[in-house]
Symmetry: C2
Subunit: 200 residues, 2 copies
Amino acid sequence: MLRLYDFLESGNGYKVRLLLTQLGIPFERIELDITRGESRTPDFLARNPNGRIPTLELEDGSTLAESNAIQWYLAEGSELLPAERMERAQVLQWMFFEQYSHEPYIAVVRFWAHNGQLEGREAEVEERRRRGYEALFVMEQHLGTRDFFVGGRYSIADIALYAYTHVCDEGGFDLAGCPSVRSWLERVASQPGHIPITQA
Amino acid sequence: MLRLYDFLESGNGYKVRLLLTQLGIPFERIELDITRGESRTPDFLARNPNGRIPTLELEDGSTLAESNAIQWYLAEGSELLPAERMERAQVLQWMFFEQYSHEPYIAVVRFWAHNGQLEGREAEVEERRRRGYEALFVMEQHLGTRDFFVGGRYSIADIALYAYTHVCDEGGFDLAGCPSVRSWLERVASQPGHIPITQA
């Protein structure tokens, strides 16, 4: 059986949990409390030298890291990853956008808020909020004329961007100015087999 | 003909320039000076709402952003992108590693050094150097027993990580403690069709 090294609060872990559930693939979930260094033990570093969750362990013991690479691996051949060449590249475009222009701002501020680390870094929080809103407005513009990010249908690009956008309020982001993003969040949450981020 | 919106100093742009050259695909290069806001004009934002280079424009006028998504699009079907499922996911793993754990530290400090922006942000530079070295040591460990990042042969994962690693000294990084990374840099630079980052 596939084994997922995970942390329940993590949107990156949630992407893989949600996808596995929607694809109907059984898996064993190993919870690691990253706030207590459990992803930096020698045992785990042997599985992922970069010391991060999620990490997927296959039946043969080989491992794969990076949430969006794991998504790609799992979704290949399914309806959640388009077959057409340009659409596939667009899925990757939005997943790289998520990791470079979205997650470092929206997810990191939420992580600090969860762990009482907002105080004493006010300037940095303000800068990350500014950049987070830039990412949200790029999404708002794109979704103004589309139901989903790529090819007019639900894909792993939507899962990648949903993971931290739908809990961005926990980091103090307000989607009042992003009506298209809010409608899209509802569409994603209504997909068959959807589970909340709090579900192990 | 393909059109590449590019900035000569950019390692992200260099990835695509180098790949196009090695694949023998002709292209027109449009230089945008990102330090003067040339990637934030209304004209360019219509091509990439995220306002970043590289952006690839296809013959039909459609555009693709994010250096590693562009690489995937171009390399599909070539020897620079493996055909096997797990190896393909590993290529993506290293490309996401590059954008999340490497580029924000190694490329950004180099950008600040190039543009006289190191002064006044000493604490942030120190933190980014620390994290950049973490990424370099993950690479060093992986390359200690391998010639290339994935599948024992040169791929777009190597191009992604070469782009900023081979100029990391420009941001004050020293590869003295990374002999395997230095050998790998030489192997990448000796591939057929290799061009330097300074070549348009």
